[in-house]
Structure formats: C-alpha cells, structure tokens
Symmetry: C2
Subunit: 297 residues, 2 copies
C-alpha cells in the first residue's frame, strides 16, 4: 500500500535519521514538504514529538541543517518535526512579492481574506500534520503524536506561543527563540494580519501571544521558555520581548522563563547556541520524572 | 592603523564569535574570505588554532553554519579557522565551468600549469594564512598560531592529510571526514592534478596522502583520525579509504585511527555527528596533559 507521504531524502545524523517528506495537504491545497528527525530511540519504541516552527523566508531545511538540535534530541529520545512556513506553488498573484508576506510567511494563522484563503498554516500545524503523524506510515509506528511540544524562531516563535497557548492540552511545553511577541502592534504582524485577516483587529487577537496570555483561563499551563538576543536587529521594532514580559506578569501565567541573551543576534548561530537547553526543557516536560506529564497523555 | 583584514560579519556563538574577514591574498592575487571562530577563552589569553579545509563547491560558510564544531571549540578553548577553497574572481577562462575543477576546487596544491598559476592553495593554507594570524590584528593578540592542528572534509580531508603529513612539525594533529585518500588514482584527483600540475605523475605524489605516508620519515608523527561513512556515495570511486588503510599499514605510521561509520553519507549531517570527537581529538593534542605536545611548540 502506498503511503500518503513520499520520502524525498534521508540522512543519518547522530545515530538517527533526518527524513524529508512531500505530501499533499488537503488543508492548504498544495504539496508540502516537512522533515522529521527520528532519534535512535524511535527504532525500538514510540517517541514524543517536538514541533519546530520556522521564521520568515525559511522552509524546513534551515532548522534541520543549522540548528544542531538533533544532537540533544538523539540523546533524549525526542523526534523533531519541522514543517514549511506557508503554502507554495499556488500561483496567487503577488504571493512572492514580499519576503514578509505570502510565500514563506504564513504567520501560522487561518486566513479569512478570500485572496489568501489557502493560507491556513494554523490548521496545518495544529490539525493536519499531527493527524498525519498519528495515522500514516511510517510515523504511526514510531511516533507518539499525542505527546507533543512546540518551539520556533521569530515568526515561528510567535507561532509556537500561539498554537501552544490556544491548545494547552495538546502541547506539554512551549519555547521560542526571538519570537514576535505582540504581532498586533508591530510592522510584520500588522502587515500579515491585515492581509490575511482583514481590518478587524478583534480577529487578530487569537493570534497574539500577549493577548492570549491576558485571556488565558487554564487550567493546564504548559511551561514556557523564551530566549531573545540583546543584539537582535529586530528586537525593538518587531520582537518586543518587553510586551511578553508584561503580559506574563499581568496574567500571572507560569511557569514562564523569559531570558535576554547578551550579544546574540537573530541568526541560527543564536539558535544553535541554546538548542540544547530548549530541547532538554521540552524533553523534561515530555519524558521527565514519572507522572510529570502523565496527566496530559 | 588600518588592519590588513576587513571584518565583514560577526555573530556571537556559544559564548564566542564567528568573525568573517576579507583580505588581499598576495599568494593568490585576489581578495579572499575566511572565518575565524574565537572561543570565549580568546578573550583572556592566546588560544591554539584548528584549521578546517572545506570540500568541493564550498567556501568558508558551509562549515561555519552547519558543522556545529564551535560548541566543542568553545568548551575546549580552541579557535577554528576556515579558509575558502580556491581563488575567486580572477576571470580565468573556464574557471567556473566545472564543479570539481577551478573555482571552489583548488585541491590544496600549488599549480604549475601556466593557465592556473594563481591556484596556490597549498601555500595559501600553509604559509600565508598562518603568517597573517601570527602578525595581523586582531589575530596576533589572541591566537597562538604556532600551536596548530588541521582537519577537513572530502577534498579538504585530502588537504588536511597532505598539509599535515608534509609539515608534521607545524600541525599537532590531523583529522579528516571522508577524505579523498588517494587522489593520484581517482577521477577527481586525476582531473585536478592533470589540470593544475600537468601530465608528470611524479609531481602529483607530493599531494597524495598515501604516497606521503609511504615516504614518511618522521620523526614527529602527528596523530591521525579519519572517519568515513559507509553510505557515502563517493566511497568507492573517489574516497577509497582502503587505500589509506593499506598505506598506513605499509608505512607503519602511527598513531592513526581510521574508522568506517555505519550508514553515514557525505553530508554535513555526517560531519556534525562526529564534530565533537574531532575537535576533542585535536584539543587533546593541542592542550592535553602538560608535555603532551610541548615539544612541538
């Protein structure tokens, strides 16, 4: 029986494998690629899943090639799942005119504006991809897709915070590198939300981590870890970690660890420096002392 | 006073910095780029230097972005120096026609054929770059360029073995990922050596690790570590690790550890898997127990 996914590359790495797949997304209406890192432990049992959501202009390859996160994932026995950042190849007029809107810039929302109706990356990440991992070969046999966490970078750090805070029962832990913390109030977010969601700013709030924190009702509270570099050129205008800090404080959300990392910028050098800590943070939540995450299974 | 190098980028990484430079190479007659990873220890004293020689089609960026070697280099206090793989921008007719000859494919030789006379990557790596690190700002103050080791990948693994075996007093240790072990007898090497060195095969032997091992007279013998992946698509035709094994055996050279790594291919996923071991191997030779490498300083 043919699988619904086609493996397009496989590279051994830290004792496991990076495997890249192509599949037809029914949510997005196009072919999509994603990469799964299978740690060695996936050879002998089901392992939990840690999603990584990438930033603007990226696809699944940047993280897979540059983060070095596979090392800790291998050591802890966690699979990494890296999706692409938008639909591709649909031929929507102007879809590739901007690096911060359209192709490579899905912002992890479900668009409501007719022209961009295919841009449903929220549903793709939260529904379609987990469902695929639960049911399709070769994933169903070796991944425990009901035991998941999420992290991401920049636009994808925003995505991780949003999908995690909106589905606290589905993600054991949430972390981000240099996330866009308050997209409703910064140029990248305003451009994306206006284009995908229209002018009604109330509709934007469901995709803003600061708004979600202030409205958060629990009771399950996945722990949050956020690192941002003090030398990040997008710090003040686009990222605004201070807005997230204020929202955490106002909402009383916890546990949440928000850190400023001295001298680091927006690049994958920053991500790879702290990748071990983030993977271990998630592995503790997913696999930690017996009972630690058991209630969420 | 202006430095002879221009810093073109700087990214904090694992507590240190990747710094990329441009300079005018007098040996090659063109501008060249290279990257130095300064570990945190370089802030407070001189650190030894580990050169990394890249493979075909690469420049200094592939290793810097994908290997993850900075992590162990930071932990051990070793600087990484990654040069480019050929002269660039000289406009020699046909220089970019092949991916395995000309631009990006210097093979770490000094060309003797008139057309390719600028291709003197051997002298660039062995003479000009170390001299620059010894004398120019900002290197002279924080690098101990007289305490060096060398490693590389594929064409650069060949390069590391050749520069190390020809200058055993200058390199404390030598390692390689998937090196071209016996270039005199494989298609990549025959094409490159014919083009750069002409038809006289005797002249090729000074750039062939197997030939150098068989002629090796010591007395200083830098330890050698070589890893090659069993799933490397270039294994049989281009790399020939068996030829190196035979040469080590015939020559009685040691210590030399030649390993086959099951299921690994030719990619940076292979390199990053074993980067820690290679950096630690060199750090042991450069910084290991007092007296271990002291005689070479």
């Amino acid at each position: 029986m043919a699988s619904v996914v086609e493996e397009i590359s496989a590279n051994r790495h830290h004792g496991g494998f990076n495997r890249r797949y192509k599949h037809r997304s029914s949510v997005l209406g196009c072919d999509m690629t994603f990469t799964v890192y299978f740690p060695p432990a996936a050879d002998s049992g089901k392992v939990p899943v840690l999603y990584y959501l990438s930033g603007l202009t990226c696809n699944d390859e940047n993280f897979v090639q540059k983060s070095g996160a596979q090392r800790a994932a291998a050591a802890r026995g966690v699979a990494l799942v890296a999706p692409d950042t938008s639909p591709r190849g649909l031929g929507v007029e102007g879809e590739a005119d901007s690096w911060d809107f359209g192709v490579g810039a899905g912002f992890y929302v479900n668009a409501t504006q007719e022209k961009w109706r295919a841009w449903r990356m929220y549903d793709y990440v939260v529904e379609e991809l987990p469902s695929l991992l639960r049911t399709a070969a070769p994933f169903a046999a070796c991944l425990d897709a009901d035991r998941a966490s999420v992290f991401g970078h920049s636009m994808g750090g925003h995505g991780a915070l949003v999908v995690g805070l909106r589905n606290p029962q589905a993600y054991h832990s949430i972390s981000a590198f240099a996330p866009v913390c308050n997209p409703c109030n910064v140029p990248w977010g305003i451009k994306a939300f206006t284009g995908y969601l229209g002018e009604d700013r109330e509709a934007w709030k469901q995709y803003d981590a600061c708004e979600l924190l202030r409205a958060f009702s629990g009771p399950v509270r996945p722990p949050i870890l956020v690192d941002t570099g003090s030398a990040d050129k997008f710090l003040e205008v686009q990222l605004q970690p201070g807005a997230l800090e204020a929202a955490v404080k106002d909402s009383g959300y916890g546990p949440a660890k928000l850190r400023m990392q001295d001298g680091y910028d927006h690049s994958y050098f920053f991500i790879s420096t702290f990748a071990d800590e983030h993977v271990n943070f998630h592995a503790d939540a997913l696999l930690g002392p017996p009972g630690a995450g058991g209630g969420k299974q």
